[in-house]
Amino acid sequence: MAFVASALIFAADALSPIDGAVAVLYTGVVLMVAPLGRKFIVAAGCISALLALTAFLWGHASDLIGGALLRFVVSLVAILITVLLSVRDRSARVSLAEQVRILEASHDTVIIRDSAGIVRYWNEGAERLHGWSRDEALGRHYAELFDESAPVEEIARSMREAGTWSGEVVRTRRDGARLILASRWLQRHDPEGNAIGIIEASADLTESRRAQAERLNLERRYSTIFNSAGFAALECDLSGALSLVLSAGSGDVAASLRADPALLAAAVERITIHNANPAALEMFDAQGAGDLIAAELLACSIPDVRQALETIFVVLVTGATQIETETRFITRSGRSIDAVLRLSVLPDGTDWSRVLLMAFDVTERNEARAKIERTSAELAHAGRVSVLGQLAASIAHEVNQPLAAIINYGKSGKRWLTRPSPDLGEVADCLDKIVSNANRAAEVVGRVRFLARKSAPQSDSVDLVVMVQDAIELLRREIHSAKATVRVEHSGPISMIDCDRVQVQQVIVNLLMNGLQAMRGIDGRREILVSLEDSGDMVAVVVSDTGAGIAGEPTQIFEPFFSTKSDGMGLGLSICRTIIEAQGGQIQASNNDGSGATVAFTLPRSNPQEGRHHRGLIS
């Protein structure tokens, strides 16, 4: 079309005799291609100018008279002006179209309404948010499209005075959902300055408000949990402390802390406590979180505290986010508290700047535990005392039996004498029995005296076989009431040994008593086997029972359990060890392969270092 027009204009210009500025008509060609774009406009302008020049030269080459030349120049100027205007118009249109596209593409709603409130523009954002399509919305009054709650008077005043308003409006969507919008309103004016409506652009705040509310709820929930927790909770910043520890050099934090004892205290100085719940304040006797100073609570001078802190630092540096350890705090009023600590590194902090520390007061638990341990030790002591009581009763019985027999024989002898025909044979027999029973009682008393006496160690030449049998005789009643049997075995003769008779007998009695006690409540065979072995230099006495055995490590039975004090006749195994070792021997305990336990001691045949000396003193 443009080409045809150009050709016709050219023909008219060049061939016709028309004496006029025909070339001005090229402006029409330029306008015709204007919608095609800037390049087409410029090209059309250039071609038109060339065609006009060609026609001019063709028609008027011979006489470049003033009139024709003037018309040609006017035509060229007209073409140029048209090209320039077209280009400008074109770029204005392009930018306008872009603006419209931006409006359309915006997530925000853009609504333009006239002064009567009729919707004149409704973008895609408005379609999406309000639920009305553009076709439905255009031409309707905006109040038909949504219920609105907005500060009407404030808007009116602001629009009147400044021509704009921004703030929040609450609207109801087409489907009834509630929307919170951040809205900006702009007054439209006509060229005369009259208000002709409003442009409003709004952004949906509903989702961000909901998220905000949720965040607030979460924070409230956290602070409720934090504040109402029954255990102490503190929010601490350990970043300063840890950066100090890390800056101390080598990657090995434990080594750094060991190398410089002051480092730990300096690190603790840098721990800050942001927040503490009421339970924490109560635990540490503080009024407010400001009273809580880590360096005061965690006194590095206390070894327990030091160890716990070292553990915490070392483990935190490895990247752990949960640590549990036990330590001791000093409260503001100076009380000492045992506490189980649980540290959680919170994810919102950086470099241990937010650490939640929970502390559980286990002071009472630990005290209760200590009390139980004390009580069981006391119970064990009471048990030992009751063993003593039993032994005493047993010995009293051993003495009473011959005394009763003596009385009986005495009265009986008198009867035999005072009969009408005295039986002197019976009287003599009674007197013999009185003597033998008195001897028997004296023997018992003698044995007891050995046990009870706390004399300085003395050395005698002792036959261990006889000593073992004496001890068994002494415990006859006990053995009997325990329904047990005691066997003594020795292969070949046993040498006499040099030892403190009384003390070694105490050991043997003690081992037998222990064996009897261990077999109490055992259903099976109750037998104690005492075997003696002579290895030349040493004599071993092995006491083996069929009882319950030793719970735990057998050697620990020689550890002092309650006290090393001997209550008259009773002796703990720790004293047995002391006695045996003092005389150059050894004592050992082990559990048997089958049932029960074995305690064995050895004594040297001669004990020259002490024994002779004592004997010399006493004799």
Binding site: Q401, A405, I407, Y409, S412, W416, C430, K433, N437, R440
Partner: protein, 142 residues
């Protein structure tokens, strides 16, 4: 009836005690007043002897190896032997005393026991026994 009459009737007393001296001394005392005495070191020996069936009285220690005094008493009752039993003990407990009473013991004495008191107990038992023996006869003849 006078004491001599009762004691002279040749009643047999059984004594069970594991302590030889105690048993023999009581035995000697009773023999000195004319009673016949048979001693046993254990309850089992006593039960296996025929003497017990005709004994006028049994004196037994409570604590003994093997069967104890109460066990012996129970076994005798089970066998239907109605001999009066005196229990002696050095370790008296309320339980043992109650059990002895339950079994119908004629006496429960604590050691060391004065043989004179033991003898009085035995005399009382023998007197009651002879009275009991006479009464059925008198009823039978009337």
């Amino acid at each position: 009836m006078r004491r001599e009459t009762i004691l002279a009737q040749g009643n047999t007393i059984c004594i069970v005690d594991d302590d030889d001296d105690v048993r023999e001394s009581i035995s000697s005392f009773f023999r000195s007043v004319g009673l016949q005495v048979v001693g046993f070191g254990t309850a089992e020996n006593c039960l296996s002897s025929a003497t017990i069936d005709n004994a006028a009285c049994l004196i037994t220690d409570l604590h003994m190896p093997g069967m104890n005094g109460l066990g012996l008493h129970r076994e005798l009752r089970r066998r239907g032997v109605q001999v009066p039993v005196i229990v002696m003990t050095a370790y008296s407990t309320p339980e043992a005393r109650a059990e002895a009473r339950h079994l119908g013991a004629a006496g429960f004495v604590e050691k060391p026991v004065d043989p004179e008191i033991l003898l009085q107990n035995v005399e009382t038992i023998l007197r009651e026994a002879s009275a009991h023996d006479r009464d059925p006869d008198s009823r039978g003849t009337s």
